[in-house]
Symmetry: C2
Subunit: 376 residues, 2 copies
């Protein structure tokens, strides 16, 4: 719930004046609107969250798109699907043209979610939205959905796949439209809407969708797909890192071998993978691959000042996350996310836990994601 | 099927003369007995293999024990259960006393199997024994069980959990008893039978079972739980490595973090685990943990000669297994399995494959098994 409302605020702030007095007055109006409409907002959001949204699930991903089209049509945003083939999740386009406006902004969010294993969920299922009295890690317990008239506590948490990343973006944008229209306020810019359906699968067709459509030209894109600042403060981020994934598989013997009869002799692919991964970063967390940082475009004076002036929150965050130390110690989180990174999303070889066996496994796999910055 | 017959031979060889002429004559008698009885042997074995046998599955492990008791009773071996508590898989004891014998040997096998994930099985299920025309990796196809009178090809392969390790041991020993009795031959030693039910779970109650029972005294134990020599030759192995398991878990942040927002800053437990595992062995495969080899009792002259005189099969084995190089290159498999080893049975962090996500996982785990030799 919190994420949703912060993003509404960011949207509205940018669409109106940023003078301090005006901002406070607007915030208060936004809060009033939210309180008056929260049951309807929650209900609509829960409906959206109930549809499975993994990009490779062609049937369900189009059910999401159809619902969003319907939600936009109700708001008069003239939605249409942007297609790049039958088996590609469609993007959704819409617009709010403002007479006399000289600028155009595009509001972006994505409605697909990362793949997920329901068995790894704690207590509830990915596409059965569930309200909790607090965050899971704070011991939040399951609540029934509030009946009409019942107060909704903004500290409650809604658990479902993409409840924040990033159906919250879609919902926040459409709710902001509702709020503006209800107040009789029009934005000062033309607003276009672009909701993507395969962001979490790498946006491999985004180029095709955009190239085929002239209608996505604008003065600025506002990407509503980011976290609330860890402190709870609102933030606008200018630019994000790109991302590319690498799948790695190391092969050992053709069949699993008994570790008593072959251990010491047949190479263990898990160990080879461990050595390979270890070689990619030093103890401090710096990537050691040759040339890794060579083509990074240095930050400009403006960016450096923005980082310096942003709230310093690393210590609080370390406490929250239970971290004794961080990678690249001595640099702040904000500095570090302006550098390219190499992360191990997952790795697997043989089995651990109850299924572990005394074998030399045949393979070991890892998935990496490489975050890229300007110049790389 | 091959494993079964080799172990019968080893058993019989040891129970009778080892003069070369006698051995050949015995082998021929054994083959005749097998051909005359293979349908009955196969049917009894399939029945035994059909009962799930993970040591922690208390109900089914006792069903195995009950069936083996019945199989031994039919052969006049006076079986009984050796217990160390209700929730402990029982061992099974039996005996064949020979009037005038001055020595006693114990034949050992275990009837429990390693944990297994049916999803990882290729085509057939762990406890649904299935005959194939050849090994899976050689393209073996599923055959129906042969009808009475149909010839059984010794090159067929029977797939089921523990079809070799180690219900084959139980079946081979009991079949050898049948064969000897059918020929009117008694062994020259008293024979005791000891079938264990939690070997694959670490035999943690074996001490209790043996301490409580004087009846397990003997001049020698013959452990029928080992592989055929890779060349297909029969082998008797004097001693095996011990084994102990280590579970390792590395913890990162308390909750999974978005790799775009936190990568470079929040430590990745997969990388830490990779560095930890890497540090345990050098590039050649030698364990680098301080003192690892210090207390290894050196091999004696007899052992060294046995290793030298054994068939050298490493190159053929490398080709079969598709290995370009081995650990500790320069030493043979037989030398190396006389040294302590450290093997990664499995490792896991986050997800790979279709479920991989751009996260910094919260934990990374590995299971190691340490093979121990005399002195360690």
């Amino acid at each position: 719930m919190k994420i949703l409302l912060y993003i509404i605020l960011v949207t509205i702030l940018l669409a109106t004046s940023s003078a301090r007095y005006g901002v406070v007055a607007q915030q208060s109006k936004v809060r009033e609107y939210r309180i008056a409409n929260e049951h309807r907002i929650l209900e609509e959001f829960v409906t959206l969250l109930s549809i499975p949204n993994v990009a490779s699930d062609h049937v369900n991903i189009r059910r999401n798109a159809a619902l969003i089209i319907e939600m936009m049509r109700r708001r008069g945003l003239e939605p249409r699907l942007l297609e790049a083939g039958n088996s590609v999740p469609p993007a959704i386009y819409g617009e709010w043209k403002v007479p006399g406006a000289t600028r155009t902004i595009i509001l972006y969010a994505h409605y697909d979610g990362q793949p997920t294993d329901p068995k790894q969920w704690a207590g509830t299922m990915p596409w059965q939205p569930t309200l909790r009295s607090a965050a899971l890690e704070a011991g939040g317990t399951i609540l029934s959905m509030p009946k009409p008239g019942e107060k909704i506590d903004p500290e409650w948490r809604l658990y479902a796949r993409s409840a924040s990343d990033d159906k919250a973006g879609v919902m926040a944008i459409l709710t902001a439209v509702d709020a503006l229209k209800a107040q009789g306020i029009a934005p000062t810019s033309n607003v276009k809407f672009f909701f993507e359906g395969e962001e979490e699968a790498g946006s491999s067709h985004l180029g095709d969708i955009i190239r085929d459509q002239k209608l996505l030209e604008a003065d600025a894109w506002l990407i509503c797909d980011g976290p609330v600042h860890q402190s709870g403060l609102k933030q606008v981020v200018f630019g994000v890192r790109g991302d590319t994934n690498v799948d790695l598989t190391v092969y050992g013997a053709k069949r699993p071998l008994h570790s008593g009869h072959y251990g010491n002799w047949s190479p263990n692919p898990g160990l080879i993978l461990a050595k390979l991964l270890s070689s990619m970063k030093d103890e401090a967390g710096r990537v050691t691959i040759a040339g890794w940082y060579d083509d990074v475009a240095p930050l400009g004076e403006t960016e450096r000042r923005a980082i310096e002036e942003a709230p310093h929150y690393d210590n609080e965050l370390k406490t929250q996350l239970g971290l004794a130390r961080t990678e690249n110690a001595g640099k702040s989180l904000l500095e570090l996310i302006n550098e390219p990174s190499l992360n191990i999303n997952g790795m697997s070889s043989g089995d651990v836990g109850a299924l572990a066996r005394n074998v030399i496994p045949t393979t070991a796999s890892a998935v990496l994601d490489l975050r890229l910055v300007k110049g790389t």
